[in-house]
Amino acid sequence: MRKLSVVLGLLVVASMVLAACGAPAATPETIVQTVIVEGTPQVQVVEVTPEPVKEEKPAVLRVNAGTYPDIIDPQKSSFVIEIGHLKLIYQGLTALNEKLETVPGAAESWKFNDDATQLVFTLKKDLKYSDGSVLNAKRFEYAFQRNIDPATAGEYASITDEIVGAPEWRSADTTAADYDPEAYKAKLGVKASHADGTDCVDYEDTACDTLTLTFSKPAPYFATIAGIWVGYPAKQENIEEGGDIWWTSSKYQVGNGPFIWQSVDPFVRSVFVPNPNFAGPAVPTYSIEYSYITDSAVAFEAYKNNEFDVVASMAEDLEAINADPDLAAQHMQWAGSCTFKIQFNLQPTWNDKPNPFTDKKVREAFALAFDAEGWVKDVDGGLSSPTWTWIPPGYPGYDPNSPLKFDPEAARAALAAASEEFNSPEKLNALGLKMAFGDTARNRVRSEWLVANYKKHLGVDIALDPVDTTTYTAIQKDPNTFPLLSRGGWCADYPDPQNWLSVYWRSDTTFASRPGYKNEEFDKLVNEADATIDPAKRMELYKQAQQILLADIPAAFGYNSLNHYLVKPWVKGIITTPQDGMFPGDTVPWTITIDTSMIP
């Protein structure tokens, strides 16, 4: 009985508390109205309950950013999530428009010399940082110097190696007693000046509006590179005052981008507000909140609960999305920036055995036996797109023409036409083929599907070789341990065929030399294209180079990534590009508006 009393008492208290927590009722007000009754004005006193005033919601784009960035430093960052933060805060000399064309950023114009070994930028007038301080060419000079400085050791430091003096400084022995960084800086082909060529005074010099880059070889594509994050003008004094942890404070991250990094609660939330001093096409009309939920199921729940306006959708969520008409209408999908392939080891031997992929017919067999559409449907749930070429759609240099396609019969015929030691599944099986992959749940599914695919269409047995993901990267760096078969890919740093062909497949690059790809004709074409100033001729040379690459079949070209997000209907004006990284339209974020009247 005593226990029952206690329980009842608690229930009474709880119900009182819950009742007290209810929404407060609107308070009636007494107002005086004048009412006309048949021409005779009469004054009546009535009591009415006013409609509650609808609180106007702020225009905030709430995005799930995923992982919290490891470092947000223009000259040290390299991951998409890090760059996604940087491009809100800063803007480079050039920018990209919705067609991925290189357009003015902080620079209003630029001009190459006759042989594209020099590039002169003229900055826009009256450029300012978000704090109102002067932004001049000396800031960009510092940015490029800092990127090249070996003390910075940024992962993208090599991207500016065309600049005179850059490779020499980066490879200098910084521990040598006579190491003098100023001497290297003086020889660097980066110079800020006035329009007449005279030296700039300091960072406050408003007439310092010219930046000249001098290259060791023609670099007609460099105007596009000048717009990427390594050239963002972080303030030298902030970096020096903040030390190694300068980038963790929104106080020091003063930029010239479309947004100001207002506040950060590490691993919880970052808030960005519009920068009124942004010199781009328009100042955004909304703020951004990045949250850092790494679990996609939780992010999906939060989206359905109206706690996010934008989340990336996953293959696991597609069934739920497609089953709900509202969610289906909110699902956006567009071309991404990556191409994935099944890379063949092209070294003369593998594991001290003859390497079957040195035979082009074997490569042809494996390439033609890859059911790219089946992969997209079964493995990626429709969240990728099959391809038979290298440069993805939407990027300059994209060419859908390819000698490759899924044709199992032709694949078997190609294998039968291979050299004597490799021309049957039994002979290949005797070699003990292996496929290495970084051991995650997703990669396991991918690899198992691939092995089954080749068993089905070629009759070839391939053993799976799972390794830890970091180990997987490590073994790919050494030609002696490069896997026989491995899934790999490339995502564009910037929209230019040079990034897809010269950077990745030219034989002296690490990407090509590790698996062992080498074609002198290809090298000659891309070298010529890299140095060609005429855009049409350049594109034609890259096109020919890509055709050579596809004809060589160094890999089974595969599939392109797609960007896929759920976006609430009150987010309007989005213009997507394949180069978007954090949310739809983040390449040109100033076109987005938030219709706050629609927010529940």
Partner: protein, 337 residues
């Protein structure tokens, strides 16, 4: 007592040295290194790799790297840089150059640019979550285990068995997503993504999920221990003396049954503080569990060493505190020389 404490604390030194050595050897012998990031991205080139290795001292002999971390070493400028004895856990490899102790122990700034209190650091968050999880585990687990023992083979006992089995066997990320769906998406009692961690209510769910396994284990252990004590002669004597059941249970039974439970609570606290990777991922909790696991896959050597040594110290200190709690609970136990 003082001598005992000092002796136990001094034992921390060889513990740290051994744990440090084993961790150092294991991580450097694992294939791959800190510059081996995602294969689909631009990789660190040779010049940059050399600069990075010089900065982090990876170009020095193996033994010298270890001594530099555990004691200290002279840098290229001839200056002595004190290592672990000065609280220097080394610079992070991923958060380029940021000291590990800053990552774990430095609180963020408030809107005025002033540092927040220490418990807003990643370690502070993990410590608070761990203590709350342990509190829930004790506050629920001990009574549940006690009642289950007293009501053995009744529906109360079976219910506690069900809870214990679920807590031990169901992965906590499954429990987490179910609770989020029920309480956040379904009942809207809380938001899926907390706006801030300043109010206690947002801590309840992650702490419950984190402590659920410990709660289950504590309940089972308490039940078993209580059943043993229940059958002791002194309990029969206490009842025969006419003492009330409440006094018998609380004063005589629970105190004696707690000894095995206390034994596991110390290491459990250490585990709860550092082993919260899943919880931090599911709830976007700003603790240090994620840092620990990510450091391993990223080969962030300084972070691996730092977090492992912190864990070792926490376990040692937890075991030491358990010894003191024994004395409080059981007057027969003395911390003898």
């Amino acid at each position: 007592m003082t001598t005992y404490i000092i002796r136990r604390l001094l034992w921390l030194i060889p513990v740290i040295l051994v744990v440090g050595a084993v961790t150092f050897i294991l991580m450097h012998n694992t294939p791959g290194g800190p510059w081996d990031t995602d294969a689909e991205r631009r990789q660190v080139d040779e010049s940059t790799r050399k600069s990075l290795e010089a900065f982090y001292g990876l170009d020095k002999p193996f033994w010298r790297q270890f001594v530099a971390y555990m004691i200290g070493d002279w840098n290229n400028k001839g200056e002595f840089v004190c290592g672990l004895p000065c609280g220097n856990f080394g610079p992070s490899y991923r958060q380029r150059g940021v000291p590990v102790q800053s990552i774990l122990f430095r609180p963020p700034e408030d809107e005025n640019g002033n540092p927040k209190p220490w418990y807003y650091s990643r370690f502070g968050y993990s410590l608070r979550l761990g203590i709350l999880a342990l509190t829930i585990a004790i506050a629920v687990g001990i009574p549940v285990g006690t009642i289950a023992a007293l009501k053995q083979n009744t529906w109360v006992d079976y219910l506690s068995l069900l809870i214990a089995t679920a807590g031990i066997s169901v992965p906590n990320f499954v429990i987490a997503i179910f609770l989020i769906i029920i309480f956040a998406s379904g009942l809207n009692w809380i938001s899926v993504v907390p706006r801030s961690w300043d109010s206690l209510s947002v801590w309840i769910l992650p702490a419950t999920v984190l402590g659920f396994g410990t709660l289950a284990f504590t309940a089972r252990l308490m039940r078993t221990s209580m059943l043993e004590v229940l059958r002791m002669d002194y309990i029969r004597t206490a009842r025969a003396k006419g003492l009330s059941e409440r006094v018998v249970v609380v004063v005589h039974m629970i105190k004696n049954a707690l000894i095995p439970v206390i034994t596991i609570l110390g290491p459990a606290l250490a585990g709860l503080v550092t082993g919260s990777f899943i919880i931090e991922t599911m709830f976007a909790f700003p603790g240090m569990g994620r840092a620990y696991v990510q450091a391993i896959s990223q080969r962030d050597y300084s972070m691996i060493m730092g977090t492992t040594l912190i864990y070792a110290v926490l376990v040692a200190l937890a075991n030491l505190s358990v010894d003191f709690i024994y004395v409080l609970v059981d007057p027969r136990i003395r911390l003898e020389e």
